[in-house]
Symmetry: C2
Subunit: 169 residues, 2 copies
């Protein structure tokens, strides 16, 4: 059921085509939700049928720009404030981290180093998002969310460094 609200929420940020949503899922939302175009296009059709979004423009290559309707905005708000959140998560990386103590020291250190390299790339990418946000086209209130991402990744980076140092002994 979350996909519906993910799409609704992204469209509430700015009207977009299905193609643009697909890219936003890959870029901004990859750390919490993911969806392929094969899921997005049918969902847009369903949302349109429910009058929660509408086509506000046709562009090149028969692209359709969607925007949320008033009803869509109300439904998004209702979900965000009134529906009890599902707190369960699904993270293969989390599972791997949980199981890493089962490995012998060499393998363990190798996987921690692989993870560390990835976290550092992630932090660099988030730093760029943060730097590029001053000259954003629209007033962006999402700076704190980026900041949270940076803090989370920093904690993970430091923890990985500690584990690597500890297993080097």
């Amino acid at each position: 059921m979350s996909l519906r609200y993910a799409v609704l929420g992204l469209l509430a940020r700015r009207p977009s085509t299905g193609y643009e949503l697909t890219q936003t899922f890959d870029r901004s939302l990859r750390s919490s939700w993911h969806a392929r175009h094969s899921q997005i296009y049918p969902e847009l059709a369903k949302l349109e049928a429910a009058a929660l979004v509408e086509v506000v423009g046709l562009g090149a290559r028969r692209s359709k720009t969607y925007a949320v309707t008033a009803a869509g905005r109300a439904e998004l708000r209702r979900w965000l404030v009134e529906v009890e959140p599902d707190r369960s998560q699904r993270s293969e990386s989390g599972l791997r981290l949980f199981l890493t103590p089962l490995l012998d020291p060499d393998d363990r250190q190798a996987t921690y180093e692989r993870d560390l390299a990835h976290v550092e790339l992630e932090l660099a990418a988030l730093g760029e998002v943060q730097a590029g946000m001053q000259n954003a086209p629209e007033p962006e209130a999402f700076a704190p969310q980026v900041e949270l991402g940076i803090r989370m990744n920093t904690v993970l980076r430091d923890w990985l460094r500690e584990q690597i140092k500890a297993s080097a002994t």
Copy 2:
């Protein structure tokens, strides 16, 4: 494909019945992976057919205790060390946090406070896990993983407090 390795990994920690695995998924693994018994029992049957686990004991109420085989351990190691991790995540809470700036200040503050209450419960639960780990029955190398969970939740708690304070102005 991760479910297979989640089950294999939990059995590598200690031999268990399907019922016990279900509980472990709910308790220790709820922050990164989740599975219901309806998924676990068929997976155990498949793992047994692939000779990665075996039944090592029959208990009361026709319960079966499974343990990983040597082949299972090798396969788990191969996955952890050699298979490129899928870094994508699935977290409804993350999605909600990402969309919260769309709400007006009152609603936003209310959702942050709901989240804060939940994070504080989570931290309390993790504190208990940490405290109860000294007198664990088996040598546990999972203390750092618990520590990481605590640090992550602490960062989130502090961030939520900041947002609440900021929106109170």
